[in-house]
Amino acid sequence: MLIHCPFCGARPSEEFAVLGDAGPKRPEAPGDDTGSDPEAWYDYVYLRDNPRGVHREFWQHVGGCRAWLVVERDTATHEVRSVELARKATAGREAS
């Protein structure tokens, strides 16, 4: 499988490490214990989608420029639909 790193270009998947589902957003966690929703944390830490089809995942180009990426990939065909730098993909994303 090839992943088109936005910085380095197409590289084989061995140069990358996968973290998994890029869907869950880190919940708000105020400094004190008020407002921290345990259910949201369980979702964030443990619950992962595992669809057959298009899936957004975190990958790191660890054998290259070391950038974290959000890779949109079809789990059935391995077709990589799009790749973005995680910094851009997650910038301005509201915590849930």
Binding site: M1, L2, R26, P30, G31, F58, Q60, W68, A86, T90
Partner: protein
């Protein structure tokens, strides 16, 4: 004797003789021969025994699909079983042995299976070797393997080297036959970067096997002209002896180049095989087509072979397949083979055509029979006669011949197009499967696309290159085509000669006959995938290249379904077998994986260190003196540190440079403890959690400047922690102004520990005051040592002694270590290794690998107070889970055996005395142990339920694997200097 060498013709060099042996018997051949052609030229016909019935078998094909002529090649450590004699290039001194025959291929005891064959139908093994289950591994499998195995492997280490490599191109052309050559030529002229890969020693494909001229010239004259242009084109790479075996995601192709298999032994500097990964913008499959056998009685007799194989023997190798040759065909292509044999002077017996009508002007001198089929082939180890059935007259006629060439139609070699899940499409006209449209990445041309004449092959190849040029924004060039011969290619399917009396083989390699398929259907295995598994049709080294289409056509007939509805089994890489050595490539032995070395690696070796692997790193275990074993050396080193001073390489600890306006905020978020108050020039112990609340890593972080920190990690977690920090910065908090960089390798770092550490240190410092007041515990400074060497100094301690860590840029590491040894000599300084380090930290109750195993919490480690309640950090929410605070979670305690000499073992479980060992009564486990030369006893760190309330309690240590039950006492995890006075001295 049947086959023989012709006086002229072929691509062999008759002026040179190559000597070789087969089953120990000596023969001669010529350069250009394969083992198969040389054996045939020597009249050797019986090449081995079949898999199940041990029937005599001979040559069937001229290429990689060969199911019968499998031999063990070479010997000793280079023994290569299941080598196809049809693809083994002859070299001087070649040694080969037949397989699956004992004591010899001429007299094989296993041939009794032929008599037993009524009792050995498909599924025999499944039905017979079922019970008792305990027999599967111990009795049945060895028995079956001995009786029905193919070649033997070797247990000796492989003496050859293997390589992996990467290639890139605009266009990969698979197959250098007429289609591939013209495609490569056109693409080269269009300026594309072209790779032309072909599995043969020389390009040409079918042109090598045929005599028919192209235009005014011989087929090879035309080939030579094309080749000359390709060979000089800078944008073309020709890969001979290279099989493209798989098509993968991203238009990657796997290819195996046999660099040295045509040589007796690979030259010392060359790999035997190269596994190429080819990244192709576009690919064109020009792999040609595979001729199908016909299915009739005794169609496996030595002397019955494919018509194309006979044609190749004559035209390419100058070998007559026999002295009286009959041809059995269901299409026009059999006639051309007969004409080629006639032209070469090979005596023909008859051409037998199953169709009512063949080509009118066949140009053959022998008799041609229409509407006639071969029902049975006779003879034991070599064909003697055939029985034909004239279907028009309903007569059975015996016919003498020593060789029968069969042509059952052509299957496009479309395997690559199916490797990513697409199924081929049935075509009535050529009675074969055609490749489906699999997108622009991989196109198909020539016979592989079902074009059965040279003219059509050329045109399809050029048309494909035109499309490819368009895709890639190039202009397709004009390429002049040679005039092609008339090539009638009609074919009428003939799946199964029902007049057969003897065994009619569908799959030669697996001994699957026409009887096995109806049997599979009768027993319920009528889907093609189940039929395959039940009968084994299409398995083993040839993967059904010859048998699959016949097999499923018969299945279609038996089940009354059309062929497209039966479908095919799944095609998977690799097209031909790929040796495991090639898949491993160079990554064996010393190159198994790269090794990471400390800048003090060679210095440590000079000090006599015994090195051990620690992840990728090499680290010193101990520094033995004289005859010391590790234990004695460790005890001496520990005593040396506790009583005097020692130095230890800590360069392998992860070091991460952290800068930026938000660096302190960042540390606050990735560590569970607080960082906002750490002043410049101070270090602090930090504990890092995972988001699920468990401990991830620990280490000290020092503040070097207002916006500059240096984090250290454990050796093992340096990589994961770095990736984690990068993830946090790039994905969680992209707005933080923080820059992280690994400086692990930049600094050579030495721990100097022991009561005399300060005195030694003072001798190397240029001007820093390290008195206890000026440089207290957890002080950090950037300074210089040894006359201007930049250095970083940290007063931190893993051993619990007065200790410092000194870091210098790595190129100066040896100078630093030498100086410490020199200046410390009169204090009795000594280097200590990982064993002593481990004992020192266990004596102090410092958690490390055994305690930070990913299942422990800060609370478990007695570090719950570090969990800040004033900020958010990774792991905060989950570390407050109820279970984490549960009072009976196992927590860190110290452990001593009750009897002084008793040895503790990590991994042992803890039980309340008197309890029966069981999961319910489990109280905890031992995480790390050491022999403490200070306490003169084994000590351990353990996790025990309610451990902190149980100090002084007796406990049962249960270690069923090693020492059974013995008794210990729970204590504080800090065994030495519990008030930490030495640390602050």
């Amino acid at each position: 004797m049947s086959g023989y060498r012709l006086d002229s013709g072929g691509r062999i060099d008759r002026s040179r003789r190559l000597d070789f042996t087969f089953d120990g018997e000596a023969f001669g051949g010529h350069p250009g021969d394969t083992l198969a052609s040389a054996l045939t030229a020597n009249g050797v016909r019986l090449l081995g025994r079949s898999f199940k019935y041990h029937r005599p078998r001979g040559l069937l094909t001229d290429g990689p699909a060969e199911p019968n002529a499998l031999v063990e090649l070479r010997g000793g450590a280079r023994l290569e079983p299941n080598s196809r004699a049809t693809t083994v290039e002859l070299y001087d001194g070649l040694e080969a042995w037949s397989q699956n025959a004992w004591p010899s291929r001429n007299f094989d005891v296993g041939a009794v299976n032929q008599l037993l064959s009524p009792f050995l139908p498909a599924g025999f093994y499944y039905k017979t070797f079922m019970w008792p289950a305990a027999f599967w591994e111990r009795v049945y499998e060895p028995l079956i393997r001995r009786a029905a195995g193919l070649g033997r492997g070797t247990h000796a280490p492989d003496p050859d080297s293997y390589e992996k490599g990467n290639l890139h191109c605009d266009l990969l052309v698979v197959g250098a036959g007429p289609s591939g050559l013209i495609a490569a030529l056109a693409a080269a002229r269009a300026g594309l970067r072209v790779i032309l890969a072909d599995d043969q020693p020389e390009p040409g494909g079918q042109l090598l096997s045929r005599a028919t001229p192209l235009g005014e010239e011989g087929p090879l004259t035309w080939r030579d002209r094309v080749l000359a242009e390709l060979e000089t084109a800078p944008n073309v790479r020709l890969l001979s002896r290279t099989t493209v075996f798989g098509w993968y995601d991203g238009n990657l192709f796997g290819a195996l180049e046999r660099v040295a298999d045509h040589l007796p032994v690979p030259p010392e500097h060359l790999p035997r095989l190269i596994y190429w990964r080819i990244q192709a913008k576009r690919a064109l499959l020009c792999a040609g087509a595979e001729e199908r056998p016909l299915v009739f009685g005794g169609n496996d007799r030595p002397g019955v072979l494919l018509a194309s194989a006979g044609q190749t023997l004559v035209n390419r190798y100058g070998v007559a397949p026999g002295r009286k040759v009959a041809v059995f065909t269901n299409g026009d292509s059999g006639y051309q083979v007969a004409r080629d044999l006639q032209a070469a002077g090979v005596p023909l017996a008859c051409v037998i055509d199953a169709r009512a009508e063949g080509p009118a002007d066949h140009g053959l001198d022998c008799r041609v029979r229409q509407q006639t089929v071969v029902a049975d082939a006779k003879g034991g180890r070599s064909l003697k006669a055939i029985e034909i059935v004239d279907r028009g007259q309903g007569r059975r006629i015996p016919l003498e011949c020593d060789t029968l060439l069969m042509s059952g139609g052509w299957n496009p070699i479309l395997h690559l197009t199916c490797h990513r899940g697409t199924k081929p499409v049935w075509d009535e006209e050529i009675a074969a499967f055609l490749p489906a449209d699999v997108g622009t990445g991989l196109r198909v041309a020539g016979a592989a696309a079902g074009h059965m004449t040279t003219a059509a092959c050329f045109q399809s190849a050029l048309a494909a290159v035109t499309e490819i040029c368009e895709d890639l924004g190039r202009k397709a060039p004009e390429v002049a085509l040679p005039a092609c011969p008339e090539e009638p290619c009609a074919v009428a399917p003939l799946w199964w000669v029902k007049e057969a009396k003897g065994k009619a083989f569908v799959d030669f390699q697996n001994d699957v006959t026409t009887k096995d398929i109806p049997l599979a259907v009768a027993e319920g295995y009528s889907s093609v995938e189940l039929m395959k598994r039940y009968t084994t049709l299409g398995m083993a080294t040839d993967q059904g290249k010859l048998s699959n289409v016949n097999g499923l056509a018969i299945l279609a007939e038996v089940t009354g379904r059309p062929i497209p509805q039966v479908g095919t089994t799944t095609y998977r890489p690799a097209y031909t077998p790929v040796p495991l050595g090639a898949l491993a490539g160079p990554h064996v032995g010393a190159e198994y994986r790269p090794v990471r070395r400390s800048p003090l690696h060679r210095w440590m070796l000079r000090q006599g260190a015994e090195m051990i692997e620690a992840g990728a790193w090499m680290r010193p275990s101990h520094y033995p003196r004289g005859e010391e074993d590790w234990f004695a050396a460790m005890c001496r080193e520990v005593r040396g540190v506790r009583s005097r001073v020692g130095l230890c390489d800590v360069s392998t600890l992860g070091k991460i440079d952290i800068q930026g306006a938000d660096a302190a905020e960042f540390l606050n978020r990735v560590y569970c403890n607080g960082w906002k108050t750490l002043p410049v020039g101070k270090a602090r112990y930090g504990l890092m959690l995972r988001e699920d609340g468990f401990v991830m890593d620990d280490g000290t972080t020092s503040r070097l400047g207002e916006q500059h920190y240096l984090m250290t990690t454990t050796t093992a977690n340096a990589g994961p922690v770095m990736a984690h920090l990068e993830f946090c910065l790039q994905s969680l908090w992209p707005d933080l102004d923080v820059q992280v960089a690994s400086v692990t390798d930049q600094w050579g770092q030495v721990a100097l520990a022991g009561p005399q550490a300060r005195k030694v240190l003072q001798r190397i410092l240029d001007d820093l005051d390290v008195s206890n007041d000026a440089f207290p515990f957890l002080a950090a400074a950037e300074t210089t040592v040894l006359g201007g060497l930049p250095a970083r100094l940290f007063r931190i301690s893993f051993s619990g002694e007065l200790a410092y860590e000194i870091a210098v840029p790595a190129d100066y590491s040896e100078e630093l270590a030498d100086a410490l040894l020199r200046y410390g000599a009169d204090f009795g300084i000594l280097p200590y290794g990982g064993e002593a380090l481990s004992t020192l930290r266990i004596e102090k109750g410092h958690p490390a690998g055994g305690e930070l195993d990913g299942r422990t919490t800060a609370q478990d480690l007695g570090l719950g107070k570090m969990l800040s309640g004033k900020k958010d950090y990774i792991g905060r929410a989950m570390s407050r889970r109820e279970a984490f605070e549960a009072p009976d979670r196992p927590v860190l305690v110290g452990l001593k055996p009750l009897s002084r000499g008793a040895k503790l073992r990590a991994g042992a479980h803890l039980l309340t005395p008197g309890e029966t060992p069981a999961v319910e009564s489990d109280q905890g486990f031992v995480a790390s142990v050491a022999y403490s030369p200070i306490l003169e006893s084994w000590i351990g760190l353990a996790f025990l339920k309610r451990g902190r309330e149980r100090l002084g309690e007796e406990i049962t240590i249960y270690d069923p694997l090693r020492e059974g039950l013995y008794r210990g006492q729970i204590c504080d995890p800090v065994f030495v200097d519990p008030d930490h006075e030495r640390l602050h001295a």
